[in-house]
């Protein structure tokens, strides 16, 4: 038996942004808090994810002009997972889609984030401790 997503994820409260927040300010928050992905919430509802990569891509393509918002850089098509799913499902999703984080969603909204760092902290040890060949 492997653990569930809920047992490994970083639970809410999370470092989040709003879609109309200033993009520069969101980038500073990512650097200060050392997170690579921020859920973007509007009235408590997940509307996107802003990653370091999104921020840099937006800045690369930016011209001069007024400040940009988080909405202009985030990606709104988000792959998520339920809290009671087994970690093995999360691992498969992350590898097949080449993503580093999964928002954890239930009917009540966002419950947490599952990142590669969370997996490294806990679940990955299982594979090594059992000492078998994959």
């Amino acid at each position: 038996m492997t653990a569930t997503v809920r047992e490994v994820m970083t639970p809410a409260p999370l470092v989040v942004a709003g879609p109309d927040d200033d993009l520069e300010r969101a980038g500073q928050t990512m650097v200060w808090t050392r997170v690579r992905h921020m859920p973007v919430l509007q009235d408590g509802v997940l509307v996107g994810i802003l990653s370091e990569c999104d921020f840099i891509r937006a800045r690369d393509s930016a011209g001069t002009g007024p400040a940009r918002t988080v909405r202009s850089a985030m990606h709104s098509s988000v792959t998520w997972i339920g809290p009671d799913e087994p970690i093995t499902s999360a691992l498969s999703l992350m590898v097949s889609r080449n993503i580093g984080c999964l928002p954890v969603m239930s009917s009540g909204g966002i419950e947490g984030m599952l990142t590669t760092t969370d997996l490294l902290r806990q679940q990955l040890y299982t594979a090594f401790e059992r000492g078998k060949s994959p």
């Binding site: 980038g27 690579r36 370091e52 800045r59 690369d60 393509s61 093995t88 580093g100 490294l120 990955l124």
Partner: protein
Amino acid sequence: MPGWFVKDVMTPVVETLAVGDTLAAARQQLERGHIRHLPVVDGDNRLVGLLTHRNILAAWLSHGRPERERPGELAREVPVEMVMEKDVLTVDAQTTAGRAAELLQRYKFGCLPVVDEHHRLIGIVTEADFVRFARDFFEWEGRR
């Protein structure tokens, strides 16, 4: 975690930067390869630094002036050695996988370059490598 070593988990390096490459070239390479880390090497393939998304993000935030400068144009003039991490923690291929995972987790690094005894780059080990390794392991275990 006896039995597993960095050499079993790491990705052999295919993408690197050279001293003098521009930030714009680095950005293209990161984007094209869908990667977050690029080792910077000298002419003898010795590791001299590491460029990550976080380095670029921090550089833009501390130096960029979005109201007046076009970041894309500025990036064509900035060499990677101005932005890269110079004090880089490395491991060798015989380091245990457990030790590498512990270093990644403790220092919140996204990757560790793997070097030989002459400090020449032979690979990198990332959190994503460990995730892939664990996925393969659990799939293998499920088939038994």
